[in-house]
């Protein structure tokens, strides 16, 4: 299955150079609406840098990234998020001092329209908005399996649940494209399988997903397409079966889990 004609995300000639080091070299790929695409590669392949460049955390040295019809290179991360491209982070990234419910509510920020005066005077619009958010948080908390932890402080959660929370926060921002940076890192096999089910459920509700992952079983089981990076360049691209048998990919992963 090749990428559809009208891509949601279109990356062309993306390069990121740090001094003399080429972290990402002329990488190009598309992601179509409704796909789950995985970005894999050995350590140092440039996966996270690519994602940083796409989401505005790093300035690419060259190249173009078109998302939902507009060029997003050069935009700040919060502007990229506002366009509908939301990412999660590798380590358990969450807002430690707030409760799980507050964390999820925070994710809703971009979609909220009420201003300072409406907030101060608790206008009807404000009350309605907060009520909607609370409802949405309740739904999501059940979907994520964090129902019992709703009022717990985020930093007190076990690692696995923190990662799930991170996913939930990103989801609350109503992304058109959700970028997950190693969501299964540090998770037990059971937790990894649960994460896979969760990602498929999210995808089923209409979100396009780009996944960076090392965990091959997760990648192979849920991806529509896989893109392989090595030393900053695209090595291969295709369905999981095609990529799995690709000779250079196998060589690149010599010794790693297949």
């Amino acid at each position: 299955m090749s990428a559809p004609a009208t891509a949601l995300l279109s990356v062309r000639d993306l390069s990121v150079q740090f001094g003399g080091l080429i972290a990402v070299g002329e990488v190009a790929f598309d992601i179509g609406e409704g796909e789950i695409v995985s970005l894999i590669g050995p350590n140092g392949a440039g996966k996270t840098t690519t994602v940083n460049a796409i989401t505005g955390f790093v300035h690419p040295t060259a190249g173009s990234v078109r998302f939902a019809g507009g060029e997003i290179v050069g935009r700040r991360p919060e502007q990229v998020a506002a366009a509908g491209l939301v990412r999660s982070f590798q380590n358990a990234a969450m807002f430690g001092s707030m409760t799980v419910a507050e964390n999820l509510a925070a994710g809703r920020f971009i979609t909220q329209r009420t201003g300072v005066w409406q907030t101060l005077f608790r206008s009807p619009a404000f009350v309605r908005e907060e009520r909607d958010i609370r409802k949405r948080v309740d739904e999501l908390v059940d979907l994520l399996g964090l129902g019992a932890r709703r009022a717990s402080t985020a930093r007190d959660l076990p690692y696995g649940e923190q990662r799930v929370l991170g996913l939930g926060i990103a989801l609350m921002a109503q992304p058109k494209l959700l970028v997950l940076d190693e969501p299964a890192a540090g998770l037990s096999p059971d937790e990894t399988r649960a994460m896979g089910r969760l990602i498929r459920k999210i995808h089923g509700l209409g979100t396009t997903v780009l996944l960076i992952e090392h965990n091959m079983s997760l990648v192979m089981s849920i991806s529509d397409r896989v893109i392989v990076l090595k030393q900053g360049r695209k090595l291969a691209e295709g369905t999981p079966e095609v990529v799995r048998k690709h000779p250079e990919v196998v060589e690149a992963y010599l010794g790693a889990e297949a």
């Binding site: 919060e78 998020a81 001092s97 509510a105 809703r108 920020f109 300072v116 101060l120 926060i169």
Partner: protein
């Protein structure tokens, strides 16, 4: 209305009602302490917004306090406007100053932001001393609020203890409400998110610059109002008083003592800051060094704030008691 909110309203109402009798009961000296406590409380709530919620250390809030004080002083002595009218004007002047300073200062984070805000404080002080035509130079402006206003046959002496006290109780209550309203909203969540994890906040679309500027401006408005009341109560504003670094200390200690990010904490901290020296019988000279030491000790030993610790102590003791009982049973 939630329980804490009801409690706050009751406390404020009682405080207001007691205002009439208070000066006779506790005497003018302690009345003055109470009034200063309330002014410090306003300042602490103001700093709490930037330091407590957002986690940015601003060492320049004395600038907003001073701007509010001078705005009130200049307009009161030139046009004899009453305090009531001057409060929103002082707030607006301070807010505009904060907006301008923020445009420059908020391009930096952390210690650089602290240094820039501190620099602006010094610049403001130097300007106040030198722009003699406007500010009357180092001598300052005096005689503020000398003329009482008349409303519907009542004369309101703006400088009297009771009037200042009543105004301050209402202002502290309102500031607490505003702080609470902001905290339980997208803004409060955005600030706390930025404090906890800036990158994640950006990744979900929270605009850090705009949110920081908002926190600074609102916080400055509160500080400006405190400045205006201070100007009327003491009837004199001078550059060395209102722009001095001592104001920063007067704001920091209550916030750190009471608990950054809480609402009641800074208010209680302000009262402790104003009253403690009286009860500790410390020589006037050693007061400031001890406050410095206190700040250091608080930060090392009780970073959440003493008040927060005290409020949580009962449930922590209960938990430990339960644990001990459970272990004893085994």
């Amino acid at each position: 209305m939630s329980r804490p909110l009801v409690l706050a309203c009751v406390v404020a109402a009682v405080a207001l009602a007691a205002g009439g009798a208070l000066p006779n009961v506790i005497g003018p000296y302690f009345m003055r302490l109470v009034i200063f406590s309330l002014i410090y409380a306003l300042l602490a709530l103001s700093l709490n917004l930037t330091l407590g919620f957002r986690g940015e250390l601003s060492l320049g809030h004395q600038t907003f306090f001073g701007v509010g004080a001078y705005a009130a002083a200049i307009l009161a002595t030139t046009y004899e406007w009453p305090l009531l009218l001057l409060l929103p004007i002082a707030a607006a002047c301070a807010a505009i100053t904060a907006f301008a300073i923020g445009l420059v200062a908020l391009r930096m984070r952390g210690p650089y932001f602290a240094i820039v805000t501190l620099s602006f404080g010094v610049i403001a002080q130097i300007l106040a001393v030198n722009l003699v035509d406007l500010t009357n130079g180092p001598m300052g402006i005096s005689g503020i609020g000398a003329t009482p206003s008349s409303y519907l046959g009542f004369t309101v002496p703006w400088r009297s203890d009771i009037v200042c006290y009543a105004m301050l109780v209402i202002l502290v209550f309102l500031s607490g409400l505003i702080t609470f309203a902001l905290r339980e909203s997208k803004f409060g969540r955005a600030w706390r998110a930025l404090r906890d994890h800036e990158d994640l906040a950006a990744a979900i679309g929270i605009p850090d610059f705009r949110m920081d500027l908002l926190a600074l401006v609102i916080s400055a408005a509160m500080a400006g109002v405190a400045g205006a009341v201070y100007a009327f109560y003491t009837s004199v504003v001078a550059p060395d008083d209102v722009f001095s670094f001592a104001i920063v200390i007067a704001m920091l200690i209550p916030v750190v003592l009471g608990g950054r990010g809480t609402i009641v904490g800074p208010i209680i901290g302000a009262f402790i800051y104003a009253f403690a020296p009286e009860y500790l019988r410390i020589a006037q000279d050693w007061r400031l060094p001890i406050f410095g030491l206190l700040l250091v000790l608080l930060v090392i030993l009780a970073p959440e704030g003493l008040v927060v610790l005290a409020l949580r102590a009962p449930e922590r003791l209960r938990a430990r008691f339960r644990q001990g009982a459970a272990e004893a049973r085994e």
